[in-house]
């Protein structure tokens, strides 16, 4: 079983499936794809993220050896390596997964059409009470939001719910109930990824107060052609294209009061964001305010060099003290200490992007308890030996991969995912060499 359907989970499931093992892939959200699906492009090649990921998502879903269970969480574990029993709670979608074709007609028909902030687009777009999680969602099946749907909250939606009328294949089923599934597996791979820190706790940055302060993921959705603004990079305050954008690094990170680690990806992510902004609108000036610029991965330093020399991205070693908003223009005034000159400087930016900390998943402590494995001082899952056994956990048969194990970029996550698959295959091989019964799911 693979827990988490982001790029790490998908890769692990595909490797095991291709290897000939049966796999359950359990994903909490309504679609697999994870964080990578939300990115516009990926560094250092600026490949379109969803374009390279979507075929993998489908391959995984359609794989004869892989069973994808979305909208579901792991709630219980018994047994040991080679013989685990896992309890999975599948929440109701109120839409029949076999019947729904993902056309989206229900969302258009919904009485509460485009009323609610859309989770996938970081709240920048609006969705209806019934909707697809996103256009390339896998499975491409709609989901009813039980907090808002009138049928589910009030038991009534006009004379007849318009979504039911609009649905050609008659897939809507308000009677669905949560389902508890028990699965027998030989090994478990934890690939639950990360959450994002809410930067509104840092009052000095004015996130949530100043309209033109965004997080990096909001920026991704904004600049993505598949996002709510179709790739038009516009300010929330007035819908104008900003002339200057400042990226602020390490928000909540490398900070002993918050998250003391380095996230390993933000320097390159802001570099990418700056390049993309320049490619959309060459006249935009982009600044990156950082304290350490770490471009450690393969081809990363070259990427930063190119951003600086060819695109004219300005990297400033400086720590921002506070942000103020010009009440008229809604521009941001950033006061910062320029660490190279030692002087206090001011800069005006029409848009500010905060690189907030990717943090251990909200539910990873709970999952760690369910699985009987440990988390480290920051909340990432602890490997058995951070040097020699980075993929294994203290519990035999449970393996780690991706950001859930600690900060890393996509290629390292993919490598770890394959690694976890290799370890799981070892468990299965050992079991079959002992002559135990075979054919159980991985």
């Amino acid at each position: 079983m693979v827990i988490g359907g982001g790029i790490a989970g998908i890769q692990a499931a595909l490797d095991l499936g291709d290897r000939g093992h049966d796999v359950y892939l359990v994903e909490k959200k309504p679609s697999i794809g994870g964080r990578m699906a939300q990115l516009d492009k990926t560094f250092p090649t600026n490949d379109c993220s969803i374009c390279i990921l979507a075929p993998k998502m489908l391959e995984c879903f359609d794989h004869p050896n892989v069973t994808v269970i979305t909208n579901a969480e792991v709630k219980g574990l018994e047994g040991s390596a080679g013989d685990f029993k896992v309890k999975v709670l599948k929440k109701p979608r109120y839409v029949d997964e076999d019947k729904c074709t993902g056309c989206g007609d229900c969302a258009w028909a919904c009485r509460l059409k485009e009323r609610f902030p859309d989770d996938f687009n970081m709240g920048l777009g609006k969705r209806s009470a019934i909707s697809l999680y996103f256009i390339q969602a896998v499975p491409r099946v709609a989901l009813i939001d039980d907090e808002h749907c009138l049928m589910l909250t009030k038991g009534k939606c006009g004379k007849s719910p318009p979504c039911v009328d609009a649905c050609g294949p008659k897939a809507i089923d308000f009677a669905q109930k949560p389902e508890e599934i028990e699965l027998d597996v030989d090994a478990i791979i934890v690939a639950t990824g990360y959450d994002l820190l809410d930067p509104s706790q840092f009052k000095e940055y004015g996130y949530g107060v100043y309209a033109n302060v965004l997080t990096a993921f909001e920026f991704e959705r904004l600049i993505c052609a598949g996002g709510p603004k179709e790739g038009h990079l516009v300010r929330p305050s007035d819908g104008e294209v900003p002339k200057t954008i400042t990226f602020i690094q390490c928000v909540g990170l490398r900070d002993r009061g918050n998250y003391p680690y380095c996230c390993s990806v933000c320097c390159l992510n802001s570099t990418k964001g700056s390049i993309l902004a320049k490619e959309h609108y060459p006249e935009i000036e982009t600044y990156i305010l950082y304290s350490e610029l770490r471009a450690v991965g393969k081809r990363s330093q070259e990427y930063v060099d190119r951003a600086r020399d060819e695109y004219g991205i300005k990297y400033i070693r400086g720590m921002p003290g506070e942000l103020l908003e010009d009440p008229e223009t809604k521009n941001l005034i950033i006061k910062y200490e320029d660490m190279d000159s030692g002087t206090i400087e001011r800069m005006e930016a029409e848009l500010v992007v905060l690189n907030t900390a990717p943090i251990p998943g909200e539910s990873s402590k709970e999952l760690a308890e369910v699985l009987g494995i440990a988390v480290d001082e920051y909340g990432f899952f602890s490997p058995k030996d951070p040097l020699g056994a980075p993929i294994e956990t203290e519990k035999e048969g449970i393996f780690l991969s991706g950001y859930a194990q600690g900060p890393k970029d996509i290629p390292e996550s993919v490598a770890q995912a394959s690694a976890a698959a290799a370890e799981a295959s070892e468990i299965i091989a050992r079991k079959s060499s002992r002559g135990d019964d075979e054919g159980e799911k991985e």
């Binding site: 790029i7 890769q11 490797d15 291709d18 290897r19 000939g20 990926t42 250092p44 090649t45 390279i52 990921l53 075929p55 993998k56 489908l58 359609d62 074709t101 056309c103 007609d105 050609g168 294949p169 490398r254 003391p260 680690y261 380095c262 996230c263 390993s264 350490e292 610029l293 770490r294 471009a295 450690v296 393969k298 330093q301 070259e302 060099d305 000159s341 480290d376 990432f380 951070p386 040097l387 020699g388 980075p390 993929i391 900060p407 996509i410 290629p411 993919v414 490598a415 770890q416 995912a417 394959s418 690694a419 698959a421 290799a422 370890e423 295959s425 070892e426 091989a429 050992r430 060499s433």
Partner: protein, 562 residues
């Protein structure tokens, strides 16, 4: 209904995709149009051709109308071709008689504000698909068997880790190591971060495990001389003690590690008073063995980072040098508490959870001085001068020992192996993977994988993860026992081929070979990209399922020439 064997009977299925296509393209009009096309004996439209209803409808129509070619006009083959091909197979047809027209991405999406033009374009695409489908031929897929054995080139931590995992999955493994002992560069290290265990103890424990594994054959003091073949069927000639030996394997893992850059000409490097981090590790090991750390070379130590890296000789960041410097500085501080250590750096690149090493180093009294590329430190005798960017002052430090942190680099062996295996190297000199994001451990050539520092600078835990990952990738074709290349490979017209070899050079997958004046297509390696067909000056190559006549028919019908 009866049909003669050679009668072409095309069925066309046009998808509304809810309102996705139907909301823009006039699907009923396209369906009526399809019925008028040559060879089309049946056309229908579906709300969703991909739904179970739609698939059943295709199968039913194949039976009822005796169809022998099928066209679906819907979304993209990238996601849906396998589904429709399977429907054809289920109904008893060969899957290669299926053709796709993408009227969603190419019509309703891109021309959503021009429904009439989108409809016209949809008609064009359907006409072209029918023209091609009429000429399509059934194809036979050939299975290529895979020898369940792996050759691991390189016996360092990466190679040993990959070999152990594969052996424990039940595969036979040959490890080829050019040195006398297994262990690689880790043998030259003293302590290993992040746990600060002894490097030799760590490596020796791993070597023991490898030696105890029955399925692993160890070839030390051995080099790889030649590799022939392709996925599943490689023949590797290795040389040991002047004798050649031939190994037959199904997969190959490249784990040859990297070398430390020797900084000749940098900062008076002399290997005694100005040394590299690797030389420092050896010295620390010697001190430990002598039980006396006063032999280190002095208590005033200056480390200089990025020597030769990040824009000086090599453009890349070597990823491990900052953590390595901090590790060694912390080790020295523990052994020689009154040592005075300065680390001169251009930004400390500890990343992820290694940030704590920097915190610990600062707390233990190790001092950090940031300098810029334009203001490099100067080493003269025991004096090191450096412009400290943070306090904006020139510092003069006394150093008994200067330690240069130099990058990991590729070796001349890379070039040889790259040619031998026909896999590429990147601009940085390291092996170049199939895809930087999603296929970090594969090569574009099937059956060959890369891991560890051969892929680029990385530390031991990352190398171990990659090694296990490469082992997973290699296990896939071996566990299946065969690979099935898609039947879209080129065929050679011997009479037209002039053996010029242009196609051989152009093929990105090394799938063509000119042996004994005969051009051979290795189907197992071919991805059907068609580059060779386009490159062939005499038209001697013709690609199955994309025959020249099929593509020409599409073009002609587009211009209404036929």
């Amino acid at each position: 209904m009866d049909a003669t064997d050679d009668e072409i009977r095309v069925g066309v299925f046009i998808c509304h995709c809810g309102s996705n296509i139907g909301g823009v393209v006039d699907v009923p009009a396209v369906t009526e149009y399809a019925k008028t096309l040559p060879n089309v004996v049946y056309a229908e439209r579906n709300l969703y051709t991909c739904s179970s209803d739609g698939i059943d409808s295709i199968k039913r129509a194949i039976q009822e109308h005796n169809l022998n070619r099928v066209v679906v006009a819907a979304c993209t083959p990238r996601t849906h071709e396998p589904l429709f091909r399977k429907a054809c197979e289920d109904a008893g047809l060969n899957k290669y008689i299926f053709e796709f027209a993408n009227i969603r991405d190419h019509c309703s999406w891109i021309h959503m504000r021009e429904p009439e033009k989108a409809t016209e374009k949809a008609k064009d695409l359907v006409r072209m698909a029918v023209a091609k489908a009429s000429l399509l031929e059934p194809q036979e897929e050939k299975k290529v068997s895979v020898e369940p054995k792996t050759l691991v080139i390189g016996g360092g931590i990466s190679g040993m880790t990959a070999a152990l995992n594969l052996a424990r999955q039940g595969f036979d493994v040959h490890i080829v190591e050019k040195e006398r002992d297994l262990g690689g560069m880790a043998r030259q290290l003293y302590k290993l971060y992040p746990t600060f265990v002894d490097a030799l103890e760590f490596v020796n424990a791993l070597v023991k495990e490898v030696e105890a594994e029955e399925r692993i054959t160890i070839w030390t003091s051995t080099t790889v001389k030649e590799v022939e073949g392709y996925v599943g069927n490689f023949k590797a000639t290795i040389t040991i003690g002047g004798e050649d030996e031939v190994l037959k394997v199904g997969t190959i893992i490249v784990a040859i590690g990297a070398a430390e850059f020797k900084p000749d000409g940098f900062y008076d490097y002399d290997g005694s008073r100005v040394i590299t981090q690797l030389e420092l590790e050896a010295r620390l090991r010697a001190c430990e063995e002598a039980g006396d750390f006063s032999e280190l070379g002095g208590k005033r130590i200056v480390m200089i980072q990025c020597v030769g890296a990040r824009g000086r000789k090599f453009s890349y960041c070597s990823k491990i040098c900052c953590t390595t410097a901090l590790k060694n500085a912390l080790v020295i501080k523990e052994k020689v508490p009154d040592a005075e250590i300065y680390v001169l750096h251009r930004g400390i690149n500890v990343y992820g959870e290694y940030e704590y090493l920097l915190i610990e180093a600062r707390e233990s009294g190790i001092r950090f001085v940031k300098f810029g590329l334009e203001n490099e430190p100067n080493v003269e005798g025991t004096s090191v001068t450096v412009y400290h960017e943070n306090i904006r002052k020139e510092l003069e430090l006394e150093a008994d020992l200067v330690v240069l942190s130099t990058p990991l680099i590729s070796t001349p062996e890379y070039e040889q192996l790259s040619k031998m295996l026909k896999v590429p190297l990147g601009l940085d000199g390291f092996f170049y993977e199939a895809h930087v994001k999603l296929r970090p451990l594969d090569f574009a050539t099937d059956g060959i994988y890369v891991c560890g520092t051969a892929h680029g600078p990385r530390d031991i835990p990352e190398s171990i993860a990659q090694a296990l990952g490469a082992s997973s990738r290699a296990s896939i074709p071996m566990a299946r026992g065969f690979v099935v290349p898609e039947a879209i490979t080129p065929v050679v017209d011997e009479t037209a081929c002039v053996k010029c070899g242009i196609c051989v050079d152009k093929c990105p997958y090394s799938a063509l070979r000119l042996d004994d004046d005969k051009l051979e297509v290795i189907d197992a390696l071919c991805k059907g990209c068609g580059t060779c067909v386009a490159a062939c000056p005499t038209g001697a190559l013709d690609q199955r399922h994309f025959r020249n006549k099929e593509v020409e028919a599409q073009i002609k019908t587009f211009f209404c020439l036929s």
